[in-house]
């Protein structure tokens, strides 16, 4: 005995966490300010390992922040700025009330502002960290850049977002780092590889938004404030890594005339957003030299694989080189221009759609004319008229696909997601198999494939039949035995009859398999309870996957059969 009694919840986990309300009180901030601070500083709640201990014995649902995080926030200079802003608003209100317009003006001039540079540096100590987290920033900026001036957010924010996203797209074009594109029902997904980081972003379709009422735009605006700053710094660094000027300038830009500077700036911005001109460089070098990798004698195989991959990437980058595209007015201009330019193609459009068109419809050297309407009146002979999906599918397949499937008025082949990587046992749509065959350089005719399919099916059936036969035999034997037993048990005398014995063909491989299966079953019986649970869970998941794959395959088969039947009917 002796000594003071230890009080509960005064050490350990309970002191490492703090509830949101207490954190707010400690920081002396209102809830909106606290929210802003958390968003800007990237502070998020933590789920404690043992909730009851942290919650001082209560099981009420609460969100907990790490005590360290909150203590870290205490020293944030922005907190002071928040308070200053609060005071500013109060003063302004007072001045308005007293109709002291000069004071209002003076106050407005000295409106407190803050910078987020230090926060970005703090949250992303290295540039790669920032790149890793840029996905959300891009998505948000692309969304905000499509907003109309409806008062949901400041016009300056919208303009800044537009500028930054255009800069980003121009960088991707200049560095040729786009890898995958996917047209989904939500918008268009792009994936680029920047400095070894895969960056995916989603761009909504160019429609006006139906602004929902249950969305808090203040939260989104705070995020956007942070993201625009981040994206600006990232753009700066990326442009400089390519020796490009930042803020970007178009090559062959007209000389600046002092009086018309603002108009010219606007024009340049427009030109940039047209995505058709290349950017001005600090050092005007034609091509960068890529650092060649040294040969390491150790792992030749790896090296070879890497080289192969690099070659493939190089080929992909120059996929559209030498091709001239013309965009009809109904296709999404920005997206297509971006994708085509990323892979080295030349692109133009009608002058009336947008600034920056480089050649006309009548140009004889145009190779591909992208059209998204059922028919077109005037067709030129020496160019393909294709639907826009061709461009995206080519990018994902990394080769130029045959254009026949994408002509005007043709039913398009399904557009597959390039982000799905099928593992063994997963369902692979037949279209993907076809593309994979094309990538390997084979040229499977449609008929051949069908035949193959049929053959395979037959094989499967045959196998099944064999199995069935064997099972049947066994069943018959067992039946016989059972009958005999029954007769014996009923006390009847057996009909003694000698029949010539059959030689039982034993399949050694099968026997071995069975033995192994039994071994496994017995071993599973000996598993510990915990492990057994886990094992069962894993196996359940696996089985479910197989089931889903089978379901998809069955659906596809049913669909194909229906199509075939329809075709046959049509023929008749």
């Amino acid at each position: 005995m002796g000594g003071l009694q230890k009080k509960k919840f005064e050490r350990g986990a309970a002191t490492n966490y703090i509830t949101r309300n207490r954190a707010r009180k400690k920081l002396m901030l209102s809830l909106p300010d606290f929210r802003r601070l958390c968003i800007l500083k990237g502070i998020y709640p933590h789920e404690p390992k043992h909730k009851k201990k942290v919650n001082k014995g209560s099981t009420a649902p609460r969100t907990f922040y790490l005590m360290k995080d909150i203590r870290f926030l205490l020293h944030e200079p922005i907190v002071g700025k928040f308070r200053e802003y609060k005071i500013f608003v109060r003063k302004l209100k007072k001045a308005y009330g007293k109709t002291e317009w000069s004071t209002v003006e003076r106050l407005r001039e000295n409106k407190p502002t803050y910078k987020l540079d230090h926060i970005i540096k703090e949250r992303y100590p290295s540039f790669i960290d920032a790149l890793r987290d840029i996905d959300d920033a891009l998505c948000m900026c692309f969304l905000f850049s499509t907003f109309a001036r409806t008062g949901k957010c400041h016009v300056q924010t919208i303009q800044l977002c537009r500028r930054l996203t255009v800069e980003w797209m121009n960088y991707v074009i200049a560095s040729r780092s786009l890898r995958k594109v996917f047209i989904s029902i939500k918008g268009i997904y792009y994936q680029a590889e920047v400095m070894g980081q895969l960056i995916t972003w989603l761009v909504p379709y160019q429609f006006s938004h139906d602004h929902p009422t249950d969305v808090d735009y203040r939260v989104m605006a705070t995020f956007t404030e942070f993201y625009t700053t981040l994206l600006g710094f990232v753009n700066f660094r990326l442009y400089h890594s390519l020796n490009l000027l930042y803020p970007p300038k178009v090559c062959r830009a007209p000389k600046l005339i002092p009086g018309l500077q603002s108009i010219l700036l606007f024009l340049i911005e427009q030109k940039l957003s047209a995505l058709s001109a290349s950017l001005a460089r600090v050092v005007s070098s034609a091509e960068e030299e890529e650092a060649e990798l040294d040969q390491f004698p150790e792992d030749m195989e790896k090296m070879e694989a890497r080289e192969k991959e690099q070659k493939q990437q190089e080929a992909q980058r120059k996929m559209f080189q030498g091709l001239k595209f013309f965009l009809n007015r109904e296709v999404p201009r920005e997206s297509l221009a971006f994708v085509i330019r990323c892979f080295g193609g030349e692109v133009s459009w009608d002058k009336s759609i947008c600034i920056g068109s480089t050649y006309d419809v009548t140009d004889e050297t145009i190779t591909h004319h992208i059209v998204d309407r059922p028919n077109i009146d005037k067709q030129y002979i020496n160019r393909y008229y294709i639907q826009p999906q061709w461009v995206y599918d080519c990018v994902n397949a990394k080769i130029l696909l045959p254009v026949e499937d994408y002509f005007i008025g043709v039913t398009l082949p399904p557009h597959l997601s390039p982000f799905v990587e099928e593992k063994e046992g997963d369902y692979v749509p037949p279209e993907k198999l076809k593309i994979m065959a094309l990538q390997r350089g084979e040229n499977p005719g449609v008929n051949e494939e069908e035949e193959e399919d049929e053959e395979e099916e037959e094989d499967d059936n045959a196998d099944e039949e064999e199995d069935d036969e064997e099972e049947e035999e066994e069943e018959a034997e067992e039946k016989n035995l059972k009958e005999m037993e029954d007769q014996r048990s009923q006390g009847k005398s057996l009909q003694v009859k000698v029949t010539p014995g059959k030689v039982k063909v034993e399949n050694p491989a099968r026997l071995e398999q069975e033995e192994k299966a039994e071994e496994k079953r017995l071993a599973i019986m000996m598993m510990k309870k915990k492990e057994k649970y886990l094992y069962d869970k894993i196996m359940f998941g696996k089985k479910r996957k197989v089931r889903e794959a089978n379901k998809l395959a069955a659906k596809r088969k049913a669909h194909d059969d229906a199509e075939k039947a329809k075709k046959k009917k049509a023929r008749k």
């Binding site: 789920e47 540039f127 987290d133 959300d136 995916t200 969305v215 710094f233 749509p429 071994e519």
Partner: protein, 743 residues
């Protein structure tokens, strides 16, 4: 001054003329007054002379100057009037008309010295014949006068009897009505002249009033960037321009003080938004990295699959049922947050209605969602399976069903193999005990005992051939005489041991010898128990026999009988729970008693309990002791089999949950490291259980075979199981009235 004097002169002249005129009027009688006023109102209607005069006059003047000069003229005129008033008292009525005349005259006079007039004209005052000032004239509407003249005399309203009708007639008939303006101050109507109308029109058009004014004449730039040789004005600079201003000084000092005190801040330098960005990561600081130990980066948004495509393969589209299911489900339960859709071309794809929602939810996730580091178990399921020695290496053990012993008509509750391994005894619910030859599966003998047999046990002593059978409340000792003569005689001798006459203690069992038919069947002894007997078990030496009568309430649950002396005793004084089964230690004087949840081990010599094993199961059904004596297995009705290592602990060394249903029987092999368990799920599981002599090494338990064959009848499968004493064979008896041998 000269000019003004000349003006006066001219006015005087005009005054004279006026007077003459007035006199003319004065000649007119009093009733003419009205007419006069009328005349005044309509000067155009007056005498031809007058009209002509005014016309000419108007044509000369252009409007602006007219009004100015007019007022001045009138002022002077009024001066004249004053003089005149002094001279002769004029009546007020006449005065007004006089005034108008005066005006006309004045302007006439002006005509002559026009140039002078312009030079000096700076007056733009109003017509102030009436001195009331700029007040609403309706204040005077109840008075006969409308104000006062400069002498303070009342100005009377002209007597007007114009009503609406007159006005209307006037409007219709008077061709000059449109150019007639009513003067409120004097309550008089003025007809504008052509020039005046022209002037009004010009002003309305925004032109200069003066026709002759050239608005486009070249302007002289006085204040240009060129420094002129001479100053614009000749005025010498003021003194104040050489002395510092005191008021300014005061203001400046105020501002300086405010700046010093921090009340006024200097204007912030606007940083250009284009120069806002710089190379933030120019110097990478590793010290900041240390702060991010607990940082959990948010997971990225999962990448879209084929379902999200605008033109997905047909198998990814929903069927009608799937769609209905999707609509029924709660949004949080849905596998996909959207319905896959197919569009035949890109231009038909609409905007996604929940785009902003999804972005917003992502935002919420980023700053509101508690994060936790979750260890994802990334194990190969094959690795979880324990590595056990292959059953192949642990042979021999029974693998196949080789013989089935048929003959019983009820479920076979108990079986027992003779110590030689040649015979098998089985007791069934059909009231018979059968003896089988193991190798041929022939039933060599059937003993009808007349009651459901609960348990049979072959005497383990190989030199005697006796079988204990438990049914109802009787234990029978049967001598099947299935051995050579020596053995039979030895067993006879054992049975013939003299009976100790003991005072029977009422509740104790009663020994009796059988006679007649029972004797001929081989039943030799009958031990009558007070209650139903469930189990019998022999001591390894074959002299002692234990019987179990489970009962909650009494201490009479177990009896130990000595065959040679025909004596019985109850070893326990207290009831410690419902006894399920008992067993003797194979070598040492220990006695195992299994109650519902535990196994007690008693030392029979010392007469005390040595150990209590906790079985960790709900209800023990059966128990077997390892031939070495250091290990016990217990089967329980809750599907478990627990292995106890007596040297290790009182807790089970291993719990085996191999069976799906209640375990009915367990057995050890006498020489091979095998044990088996029989269950209601119709299977017998044979396990390899090596026991090492080394105390540090734990027993190795490996299941080696699952034997199936028994048919489940009435939810009962295999009821008893026992090993062959020498061979790795196993017998099992089931509820389907068969006994099976697996070899």
């Amino acid at each position: 001054m000269e000019e003004s004097s000349s003006n006066v002169l001219s006015s005087e002249k005009s005054g004279k003329m006026k007077r003459t005129k007035k006199r003319n009027k004065g000649e007119g009688d009093g009733d003419e007054e009205e007419e006069q006023v009328f005349n005044f109102n309509k000067p155009a209607d007056k005498g031809d002379d007058d009209e002509d005069l005014s016309d000419s006059e108007d044509s000369v003047y252009s409007g602006l100057e007219d009004s100015g000069s007019d007022s001045e003229e009138r002022e002077e005129g009024s001066h004249d009037d004053d003089d005149e008033d002094d001279d002769d008292e004029d009546d007020a009525d006449g005065e007004q008309s006089q005034q108008t005349e005066d005006k006309k005259k004045g302007s006439e006079g002006e005509d002559e010295k026009k140039a002078d007039e312009y030079e000096h004209d700076s007056s733009d005052e109003e017509d102030i014949r009436n001195t009331v000032g700029n007040i609403p004239m309706e204040w005077y509407k109840d008075f006969p006068h409308i104000g006062y003249d400069l002498d303070g005399k009342k100005i009377y309203k002209p007597i007007r009897n114009k009503d609406e009708l007159d006005d209307f007639l006037d409007k219709m008939e008077n061709p000059d009505y449109w150019r007639t303006v009513h003067d409120k101050q004097t309550e008089s109507d003025i007809v504008l002249s052509d020039e005046q109308v022209e002037l009004v029109k010009r002003l309305q058009r925004g032109q200069f009033g003066d026709v002759s004014f050239n608005e486009y004449q070249p302007s002289v730039e006085f204040f240009s960037n060129e420094v002129m040789l001479h100053p614009v004005t000749n005025r010498p600079a003021d003194k104040r321009s050489f002395i510092p201003s005191l008021t300014e000084k005061e203001k400046v000092s105020k501002l300086v003080h405010a700046i010093k005190m921090g009340w006024i801040k200097p204007r912030r330098v606007e940083d250009d938004s284009r120069g806002r960005y710089y190379d933030l990561w120019a110097t990478e600081d590793s010290s900041i990295l240390a702060q991010h130990k607990m940082h959990l980066p948010a997971p990225k948004i999962p990448l879209p699959g084929h379902q999200e495509s605008y033109n997905p393969p047909p198998e990814y589209l929903f069927t009608d049922e799937e769609r209905a299911l999707w609509e029924q489900q709660d949004p949080s339960d849905r596998k996909l947050p959207f319905v896959p859709k197919k569009f035949s071309s890109l231009r038909q794809v609409p905007a996604f209605p929940r785009f902003i929602h999804e972005r917003f939810e992502r935002c919420l996730d980023l700053y509101l969602c508690p994060r936790q580091r979750k260890m994802r178990v990334n194990v190969n399921p094959e690795d979880l399976i324990p590595k056990l020695p292959k059953p192949k290496d642990l042979q021999p053990f029974p693998t196949t069903q080789s013989l089935v012993y048929r003959g019983h008509s009820g479920l076979v509750r108990s079986i027992s193999v003779s110590p030689s391994g040649q015979w098998l005894a089985s007791g069934s619910d059909d009231g018979s005990v059968r003896f089988w030859e193991v190798c041929s599966s022939r039933c060599v003998k059937t003993v009808q005992v007349g009651g459901a047999v609960k348990s049979v046990a072959w005497n383990p002593n190989p030199s005697v051939c006796l079988l204990a059978v438990a049914l109802d409340s009787v234990v029978l000792i049967v001598s099947p005489s299935l051995a050579d003569k020596q053995v039979i005689s030895a067993s006879e001798r054992l049975l013939a041991g003299q009976q100790e006459e003991e005072p029977s203690e009422g509740a104790g069992p009663v020994w009796s010898e059988t006679e007649g038919e029972e004797l001929s069947q081989g039943i030799r002894l009958k031990i009558q128990h007070p209650k139903a007997v469930h189990q019998v078990a022999w001591h390894a030496k074959g002299d002692y026999l234990a019987s179990v009568m489970p009962d909650h309430s009494s201490n009479l649950q177990v009896f130990i009988h000595q065959l040679s002396r025909r004596r019985s005793q109850n070893p326990f004084r207290k009831n410690k729970g419902l006894v399920q089964c008992v067993s003797f230690h194979p070598v040492r004087p220990y006695f195992f008693v299994a109650t519902q949840r535990s196994v007690r081990i008693y030392n029979l010599v010392k007469q005390e309990m040595t150990k209590k094993l906790q079985a960790n199961s709900k209800w023990i059904s059966s128990m077997a002791v390892h031939p070495g004596g250091d290990h016990v297995i217990c089967g329980s009705y809750d599907c478990r089999l627990s292995w106890f290592d007596l040297d290790l602990s009182t807790k089970p060394y291993k719990m085996l949950r191999h069976h799906k249903k209640a375990v009915r029987g367990v057995a050890y092999h006498r020489s091979y490291p095998l044990f088996a368990s029989a269950s209601d799920d119709g299977s017998v599981i044979v396990c390899h259980g090596t026991v090492y002599n080394d105390l540090l090494q734990n027993p190795l338990i490996v299941p080696v075979k699952v034997l199936r064959g028994h048919v489940i009848t009435h939810d009962l499968g295999v009821l008893d199981v026992t090993f062959h004493p020498t061979q790795p064979w196993i017998f099992s008896s089931g509820a389907d009235a068969t006994i099976r041998l697996f070899t």
